[in-house]
Symmetry: C2
Subunit: 416 residues, 2 copies
């Protein structure tokens, strides 16, 4: 039996039990996880330091090292998030449809867990706990495969979580880590459709692409966001500046940050200088079309090429293009959008309606920041990721998106 | 540009238009399709006869030839189904969630079309029109790839439908057929994730497996049904006989027909002979465990092996196994079920509840026939297939299952 088969069988053996566990028992387990993480924070930090040291030796960038790092405060945040999950509604068993058929059969459509969720992600050890906790609350077994750079942290976190769920009366195999970070094992995991019911990759565009190309398991694609703000000629300029500034500089490294601003030519002279002034406060690098460079001065704006429009910078860099009209803005968005979050700033009712109708994205904003594309901000209470695909879930995914459905049909002898 | 790229670009070029078309315009197009199919029935039959002749030359089985055949009556049925779709609610634009956030942003979650749907199916020309009509009603472009045995019928049907939708003011490329039935083209289609948003294979287990193995496009898996009836010791024997008979003999070739009966040992002596007597009316071949053979006489029951329990016979063949208890029945079902439709016949409340909780299938029946797993029977009005996967849809899929969702967020300057 291969390594993945072993994990798969382990999960399969306990998934029915977990799927029918009560919310109370699952909440107990989440509290146990929170307790053990707090109690063992020094052990976690010790394990994490190994990863940090290895990262430094491999010349990992400062921002990646920062993502990798766990300290007292971050561990407290992770533990608190587990506790918070106990307060959310359990999606399992929720009745989402049904009725009585003419022949008297009663149909009840309910939410049930997916079964076994596979998570493939990068060197962010917080995802290890986040994902496990969300899967637990939604009644799913989880098989975690994090980046090799975080392996020591992940091993420690998983060992502690397994101990915690055991204390709460569960089979520890409801949470499993792929400890062998060899790529061949990850590739095998992507084809383990016999054991894993859904695979959720979380990370950069390359990781997600690799999973799409190789997986035979149904996937929920997450995260890539090449997001735009279109400043319509009727826009409130002050509002547009605020929304662009917020979208670019409040947290540039995340998928709902904006990467390109499109400006209607009739408002470009007024808007662009004010935008540049504001973005200068964060030293944002601008890459613009010819008109943008003319308006703002070529010394202030690097020329933008096709690649710039197609890039998710995730940094203090913004592409800028002046468009002739609304139609050209839509065309640009259709060409470059990854279908994540798109925004129009406008005072025109018809432009707003048309934008919402025509733009094909998970979240379409009128006069507010794309930074709101987030499970917490949408009121889901928690988030497993942001789906940029169409199947199953689109946009921020909470606990409900970790469930599937089941039809229950009660009769008294009906036949066809 | 490859053949599939051409079709893909054609579809992409008209999908936004179709996605925002009114229900009235889409209904017009459906009526036009119904009219043209009726008017041109002789031409369709002529094209179909070419396929039938080719099939006969290739020694196609009688049942496959029957599936392939189109006559006046069948064409009328297909046309009537298109007309009927006009009476169903348009899922596009349906508001399925939302609310106002504390900061005043209004979130509206609506249904929108998938975009471009790919259908890969076998030699059933009726699917060509069914699928195209359902996609049209739900605002989706469709790329159809039917079995090569039906190519002449499919070409004619598609040409007529394209003419009809053009009459109704649509770009004919909203409906396209892969006319080159080379396998390499189908393989290319399965990897055209840049153009096709969801792929729905309809057909036998082999076809579906090939698509799962090779596709990079999100799939909705349909159809394979190894369905069971478990006759509990508390069952009403007459009801159990009716349900087994109906499940096996009313239409054995379909996915919701049953393949195995599990009988509690305490009721086997009473139930099995009455079941056999009834099934004899349809000459059903029985394949049973040792106990079944002992009870019914070994001359009446062939010995069943593992393969029999794992096989979707789709024929007048039934596997039978006497189980020691409820737990053994659940174990058997867990091992062999394809997660389609499972049934318990029982008078015990607790057995019914436990069965519904423990059995992991799209549709779990208590005291009624698995033959009801069907879009029409469930009140969906129409059916694109029966999903046996967990992602997106599970069980009978209607128009809603051909849509995805989109969040619209209206604000007045909110930033984070």
């Amino acid at each position: 039996m291969t390594y993945i088969e072993t994990l798969g069988r382990n999960a399969k053996a306990c998934k029915t039990e977990l799927a029918s566990a009560s919310s109370a028992q699952k909440n107990d387990a989440l509290m146990e996880i929170a307790h053990i993480l707090r109690r063992c924070a020094p052990k976690i930090i010790e394990a994490n330091e190994l990863d940090i040291e290895n990262g430094k030796r491999r010349n990992m960038s400062t921002s990646l090292l920062d993502r990798l790092r766990l300290d007292e405060k971050r561990i407290e945040g992770i533990a608190a998030a587990c506790e918070k999950l106990t307060g959310l509604d359990d999606p399992v068993g929720e009745v989402i449809g049904g009725g009585t058929r003419p022949n008297g059969m009663r149909i009840t459509k309910i939410r049930v867990p997916m079964g076994v969720v596979g998570m493939i992600y990068e060197a962010r050890p917080n995802v290890t706990v986040d994902a496990a906790a969300l899967c637990l609350k939604s009644g799913n077994c989880v098989i975690l495969r994090g980046g090799k750079e975080a392996i020591n942290s992940n091993k420690m976190l998983t060992a502690l979580m397994r101990q915690a769920v055991k204390t709460a009366g569960f089979d520890p195999n409801i949470i499993q880590l792929v400890e062998d970070t060899d790529r061949a094992i990850a590739a095998e995991m992507m084809r383990a459709d016999e054991y894993i019911d859904v695979l959720i990759p979380r990370g950069g565009a390359q990781l997600i692409k690799a999973v799409i190309q190789n997986s035979t398991i149904p996937i929920i694609e997450t995260g890539t966001g090449n997001c735009h703000v279109y400043v319509d000629d009727s826009a409130d300029v002050e509002m547009a500046v605020n929304i662009v500034d917020n979208g670019k500089t409040q947290r540039p490294s995340v998928c709902n940050a904006i990467e390109t601003v499109l400006v209607h030519k009739d408002i470009a002279d007024e808007f662009l200088p004010r935008m540049m002034q504001r973005l200068d406060e964060h030293n944002v690098e601008l890459r613009g079309c010819d008109l943008t460079r003319m308006i703002l001065g070529p010394q202030n704006v690097r020329p933008a090429d096709e690649d710039d429009y197609a890039t998710e910078f995730l940094d203090y860099i913004l592409a800028v293009r002046v468009v002739d009209d609304f139609a050209q803005a839509l065309e640009h968005i259709e060409k470059y959008s990854t279908g994540h979050s798109e925004c129009i700033v406008t005072e025109s009712f018809f432009a707003a309606e048309e934008f919402k109708k025509r733009v094909d994205a998970a979240c379409v904003y009128v006069n507010c920041s794309t930074r709101f594309t987030d499970g917490e901000e949408f009121g889901l209470g928690a988030e497993i990721g942001i789906s940029t695909q169409r199947l199953h879930a689109r946009g921020p995914m909470g606990l409900r998106e970790l469930t599937t459905m089941k039809y229950l049909i009660d009769g008294n002898g009906q036949i066809r």
